[in-house]
Amino acid sequence: MYDKSISEQSQALASGELSSVELTQSYLDRIKQLDGNYNSFITVTDELALEQAKAADERRAAGNAEALTGIPLAHKDLFCTEGVKTTCASKMLNNFIAPYESTVTRKFKEAGTVMLGKTNMDEFAMGSSNENSYYGPVKNPWDLAAIPGGSSGGSAAAVAAQLAAGATGTDTGGSIRQPASHCGITGLKPTYGRVSRYGMVAYASSLDQAGPMTRTAEDAAMMLNTMAGFDHRDSTCMDREVPDYTAHLNDSLEGKTIGLPKEYFSAGLDANVEQRIRDAVAVYEKLGAKVQEVSLPNLQLSIPSYYVIAPAEASTNLSRFDGARFGHRCDNPKDLMDMYKRSRSEGFGDEVKRRILVGTYALSAGYYDAYYNKAQQIRRMIRDDFMNAFDQCDIIMGPNAPTPAFNIGEKSDDPIAMYLSDIYTLSVNLAGLPGMSVPAGIVDGRPVGLQMIGRHFDESTLLNAAHRFQQETDFHKATPFTA
């Protein structure tokens, strides 16, 4: 059953055809057997998983099961999980046993899901390739020479390789959608404020958002039902009603308008990727949707705006790692300053240090207006571009990335080339919109995803569109093992 969707597993658990202990054991066996190839997990919590599975089976026998009770999931190693190592893929937190539980993982616990382990990622979620991990790069299950995408690369690879039924990810500038796209799975970044950030190790607080990574849109809807909702512990979490995200999956798309931003189909987009996206849009036309060209004139500015705002917020957030209260401390510090500097310099990897330096510079005296303030003004222009586009359409569609997954090592020495590859995803975080990636075919053996962007708090329409697409196509059913 490890190769089935969450919804199919949920039905099998409900009918008694399958127990959570059996299902969990099958994933743990696969992780043991296969994850040496992918490196998608940092920590496997096998004993805990079997305990939770047993408890889930007992809960089901007692008649208290929910839809996700007994489903084995993997969590990005950025969610604090009480009593379990939470590293953020950093040497800084290599010894950190979280003393409290994040809201997202607490909700999954309360729903009776099973935690298989914690997944690999780019250190502190900074990266687009999962090469920036203290625990080594993750490999793409479709092609071991390729990156899985990042920063939620471990979660994407684990779901693609059927080492977990679903996984959590976080997305600050594309970190759910781009790895989902590169690994041929479904990923959803909700509206900023839809899901609590409490207990997520913060990267860029005004952009970070957690979401589901799954095989199907229906599974993403089921996971989002558990994740979404107000939390007084996150001061930017929005107090809005949570709809049942599975309720409108089958709605007709007749009369919906799809906007294709012309800036998403310009120079730099691989011709084969473009063809997969155009083919996917044609499926929507067949389903009754209309297509309209729209414009996001400031799209190019999302790169400079993001690469000021995110590092600025990161430099502030990561100032908490001081070697005093938790995390790595250097040996034999001679004084307080030496402790700070050596602990941080030893604990952080190169990309993290780079972003801290850029952010510190952008926020330093005399430069604030030219950088952070300017970036926030441009952020508003980018958000307003989307608002104008949504006057003419219901969903925006385009690619997630200019090319399929590139090779491991190809861009690791060139941060600028890496940053430029984020062009199609960053603006969605700057605007706070929900975005999604669904599998749309294969180019040269590597998956390509269709990106869908919705209005604020309109995850239901994205999930509806993604589900209808998956009823018409088989791209989401392809796996690295059948290709």
């Binding site: 950190f96 046993i97 979280a98 003393p99 409290y100 900023y192 404020g193 005004s206 001061s235 930017t236 929005m238 190019q300 500015l301 790169i303 400079p304 705006s305 690469y307 000021v308 430099s315 005093a324 209260r325 938790f326 995390g327 401390r329 001679k334 004084d335 307080l336 030496d338 402790m339 700070y340 500097k341 310099s345 952080f348 780079r354 801290i356 330096l357 850029v358 510079y361 952008a362 330093s364 430069y367 950088y371 303030n373 300017k374 970036a375 926030q376 003004q377 441009i378 952020r379 508003r380 222009m381 958000r383 941060p415 600028i416 940053y419 700057l430 605007a431 706070g432 919109l433 604020h456």
Partner: protein
Amino acid sequence: MAIDASEIQKVAHLARLSIDDNQVDATASTINNILELVDQMQSINTDNVEPMAHPLDAVQRLREDKVTEENNREQLQSCAPAVEDGLFLVPKVIE
């Protein structure tokens, strides 16, 4: 706005990071490439555009001023590098 080797050391100090002497030039060069990339913004007219901190222009919620957190000192200090009598130990600060 290019940044030179002495300036990069100053920024590193503000960020409480140390850069090895043989890495200073390479670091300055990478940071300059990034600054050059973000400097695209400078040519854009943003007069009368309000900076946006939150995509829905939401403001921070206020709450009643009362203690809601429990005291979990022991648990929270369980992951500290060094503690004694409930205090975090750091190198001597006062002579």
